[in-house]
Symmetry: C3
Subunit: 165 residues, 3 copies
Amino acid sequence: MNSSTATADRTGSPAERLASLGLTLPPPPPPIANFVTHVREGNLIYLSGQGPREADGFMHTGKVGNGGVNVADAYGHARLTGINLLAVLQDALGDLARVRRVVKLLGMVNAEPDFEDHPSVINGCSDLFIEVFADAGHHARSAVGFGSLPGNITVEIEAIIALHG
Amino acid sequence: MNSSTATADRTGSPAERLASLGLTLPPPPPPIANFVTHVREGNLIYLSGQGPREADGFMHTGKVGNGGVNVADAYGHARLTGINLLAVLQDALGDLARVRRVVKLLGMVNAEPDFEDHPSVINGCSDLFIEVFADAGHHARSAVGFGSLPGNITVEIEAIIALHG
Amino acid sequence: MNSSTATADRTGSPAERLASLGLTLPPPPPPIANFVTHVREGNLIYLSGQGPREADGFMHTGKVGNGGVNVADAYGHARLTGINLLAVLQDALGDLARVRRVVKLLGMVNAEPDFEDHPSVINGCSDLFIEVFADAGHHARSAVGFGSLPGNITVEIEAIIALHG
């Protein structure tokens, strides 16, 4: 393992892979309205939509495409959103090794009407989950454009996660 | 219990809480196309998207934000949408006491592109479910902006509900 | 059975119904980014969003409504999208007879902001599933308008499918 490559150790635990990526999970973002961040139902956890919230609370905002937020920046916001989803999971489970499979993502891009590259944006989250969970991180998903998002955030992602029994 | 306060009795059954809120459920809205209002799969019920349909069939329409429909009105529409979701559940289950947990909502707001307060709108439904189901009403959700909705309705909400075994 | 009527034989197997409709499934479309086309979790399969991709790879593009793509054409695109979802299922299961129930669709229309007839568009997929799976094809769904879709495709649909145990 050579953490200086910033490539996750795919043979270690999710916590070890996070460390090898140089990532530290923040506290889980608090819900911004009358809902909870997750519900466990059987062996599934349904994660509420999270956004590109920095650890200090700063939210990345703006429309993606057409002179607004570019794809590279939005990719980073999707990765940050993934980190926040992991923070909720970590808080809920205590150990990310309890994750058996990332089942499904809905990747929501706050996009200009003529934007066409939503998949490249949401890859920011998908790539992270595969780095952290290896094969268990491969998921079904849709990555699509919304007309508006809360607080004009650039990206929001919700997820369904399967747990070990 | 004092129904004049319009505060649900959180110790009673869902039916008693509805009564204490002064709410009567309408017949379930008929599907407007080739689908069904709900599918039960194991202990989950998947509810098709419902809208702000009054008992007489009138639908509330318009874009939310920017001089269009305001947040207070749209909150009411989300609450009405929640009543219609409950009507489908009541029809499907016979007794809302069979609900074990509201698992997940997708709250869809027909919003202007610069609208930012989707959570306050969808709280209309979330607040209702917590009033009716108490702790079992707390759910995961995303509340986001769509470019358009069927018939130009202001709000549409779909849900996943867990049942007692 | 009279396949010349283009009406599916509702008493046969899904494969026989496809044949009676004159439909041949293409190879499953490859994922266009870092995700997989489906994840099985228990008796459910979560299908990633598919689009109106012809067998030769051509994608139907444009906004639906207001002088753009009309409803009849978009209905056809939703049907084609359904064929692609079936192609993924066929590839995953080997035999569509393993499908116990189409549980839920999310029908995403790349629509102009004033478009109102999303249900008629997504019926293209819903009608196909009922033709192929008969009663097991009836599903819960939402059919709504997105501000933009990948590659400016007209329609995208994701699905949850229940399998025989």
